[in-house]
């Protein structure tokens, strides 16, 4: 069954069309959303998490219509959502914060609920600080605490908005481990600016720009978009879509290469910049 089926989705904030006829189809596995700031990633994730409703379009999540009250409840019962700016009451302990959300997720029996809270805190490595107040936790710990609540009750759908923000490299590796485990047999949709997270985690990737999907496919398919379009040269060529200077003094170019230059193997970041970076193919269309 297709987990998420969104077609021609439009969401506006006043005159701004945050989602402008977006299409997204995902299934079991980890789907990564890439896109510049303002591409509509957060708006899309909020719609998938039933926080907000799009102005128009067709959306089905886990076979349910989020516009329908019963459908929305059915989705919420099997959803884990990590918002971009997740916070907790500062006077709560880590355990209390997750326990509070566990009750809201209808985990009623105290002993089973407490076991579940301890399980998710252990998954994100916060079992030793469970009695500490939220206000005493570091930013990375709070982010992991927010991630912990998404894992309550083994949800079928995880919607994660920039989950790795504020995590150090070691924590990011741990996060990848958690998400890749969570992605087995269920659907994870995450947005990130970290292309290496997408390369490491995602079976499916969607590149968004100006409220639309400009690419949808696998990571190798995304990388293939930049094949023969990345080169290194001693001279800077401003006709390229994106250029940056490398440590050895040469220049890394992304775009349409002139004849005779040294082509290099593209990365996912090259492909992303080609599709959604400054002077990208997509922005040229828009």
């Amino acid at each position: 069954m297709t987990t998420i089926d969104a077609r021609d989705v439009v969401h506006t904030y006043g005159r701004v069309r945050a989602l402008d006829g977006l299409n997204l189809v995902t299934d079991v596995g980890v789907t990564g959303l890439l896109g510049p700031n303002g591409a509509g990633k957060t708006t899309l994730l909020r719609a998938l998490a039933t926080v907000s409703s799009p102005n128009s379009g067709h959306v089905r999540i886990l076979g349910h219509d989020p516009a329908d009250i019963d459908g929305r409840l059915a989705i919420r019962r099997t959803l884990g959502y990590l918002p971009q700016d997740a916070g907790f009451p500062r006077g709560f302990s880590a355990f209390e914060a997750i326990d509070y959300l566990a009750i809201l997720k209808e985990h009623i029996r105290a002993s089973a609920r407490h076991d579940e809270v301890r399980r998710v805190l252990a998954l994100v490595g916060l079992q030793d600080v469970s009695t500490k107040k939220v206000r005493t936790l570091s930013g990375g710990m709070r982010r992991r605490l927010a991630l912990a609540q998404t894992l309550l009750g083994h949800p079928d759908l995880l919607v994660l908005d920039e989950p790795t923000v504020g995590l150090d490299p070691e924590q990011r590796i741990r996060f990848r481990e958690i998400i890749s485990e969570a992605g087995v047999g269920r659907t994870v949709v995450l947005s990130t600016h970290q292309t290496e997270d997408v390369a490491a985690l995602c079976s499916h990737v969607v590149v968004m720009d100006h409220g639309r999907s400009v690419f949808a496919g696998t990571v190798p398919e995304l990388v293939a978009q930049a094949r023969d379009r990345v080169w290194v040269d001693d001279q800077r060529d401003d006709r390229a879509n994106a250029v940056y200077r490398l440590g050895d003094g040469s220049y890394h170019h992304i775009g349409d290469p002139p004849a005779g230059v040294q082509l290099v193997k593209p990365t996912i970041e090259d492909a992303y910049l080609l599709l959604a970076g400054p002077g990208s193919d997509a922005s040229a269309v828009v």
Binding site: A49, R76, Y81, P89, A102, I103, L104, K105, A112
Partner: protein, 267 residues
């Protein structure tokens, strides 16, 4: 790794949530200040040897402390998730805003019940130490805890309708001013104050027992309960779009109880 499968159930979410919210309400820093001040007031009532003060401790002690603080604590409880940035997570949980509101309305009884227990304990102490000239009746003992319930429900209602941080401060100031204005009134007007001592200070300015203020304490409690129900109905109206008719009916009954009680309490 051990996985625990937790079977979700929709039943009892509000009651389970209410237990936690009641605990947080009782232990809110503003409430702790109120409880501490109530303990001081009772201690003064015990050592003062003045029966007017002692009687007033039972009838109004808990109204000011923690009653007034309840407004602030309850308002902060209602607006907590929005202030902390938790709303996006709580809003997509299966438990609805209505269930969370119901939990708060249930939790609102906790400070009132604790205030009643403290009042009964203080009353017993005053009886044992022979501190009364005239002992308070059941309505006298119950009225302050009912006022505490009213303060909590008012805070919840304000949190739902006016979540701005300044709201409870304005409400607390307005309520205290309202009580002071009514206390200075004549012709039974003072009975409309939620902080009614009933002990008449008399010409001796409270140096010795004089009399009880004329009026009907039972009807006064009914008047206060009517005000409580009005706050609850206004809260429910905001939270439950499906049950607006129920809220309106409850509000109408509440207004009627407050009006009849307010009229019947007069001498």
């Amino acid at each position: 790794m051990t996985f625990t499968i937790v079977a979700p159930t929709r039943r009892h979410v509000a009651s389970v949530l209410a237990i936690g919210e009641a605990r947080r309400l009782l232990l809110h820093p503003a409430m702790l200040v109120g409880w501490a001040l109530l303990a001081v007031v009772i201690f003064i009532g015990l050592i003062s040897g003045n029966p007017v003060t002692t009687f007033g401790t039972i009838t109004t002690g808990a109204v000011a402390n923690p009653g007034v603080f309840c407004i602030l604590a309850a308002h902060m409880l209602v607006t907590r998730d929005a202030r902390a940035g938790t709303s996006d997570m709580t809003d997509v949980a299966p438990a609805t805003r209505r269930q969370r509101g119901l939990a708060l309305l249930i939790a609102a009884w906790a400070p009132a019940l604790v205030a009643l227990a403290i009042n009964l304990a203080a009353h017993t102490m005053f009886l044992l130490t022979d501190s009364y000239v005239q002992a308070p009746g059941p309505a006298h003992i119950v009225q302050a805890p009912v006022a505490v319930l009213g303060g909590t429900l008012l805070g919840i209602m304000l949190g739902v309708w006016a979540p701005a941080r300044v709201t409870p401060i304005v409400a607390m100031t307005a309520l205290i001013s309202f009580c002071l204005v009514l206390d200075g009134g004549s012709g039974g007007r003072a009975l409309f104050s939620p902080a009614q001592s009933w002990a008449d200070w008399g010409p001796g300015n409270g140096e010795q027992w004089y009399a009880l203020i004329p009026g009907h304490p039972g009807a006064h409690v009914a008047y206060l309960l009517g005000l409580c129900a009005m706050a609850a109905a206004a809260t429910w109206f905001r939270l439950s779009a499906r049950h607006r008719a129920v809220s309106v009916a409850l509000g109408t009954v509440a207004i009627a109880i407050a009006a009849v009680g307010g009229w019947a309490q007069l001498p």
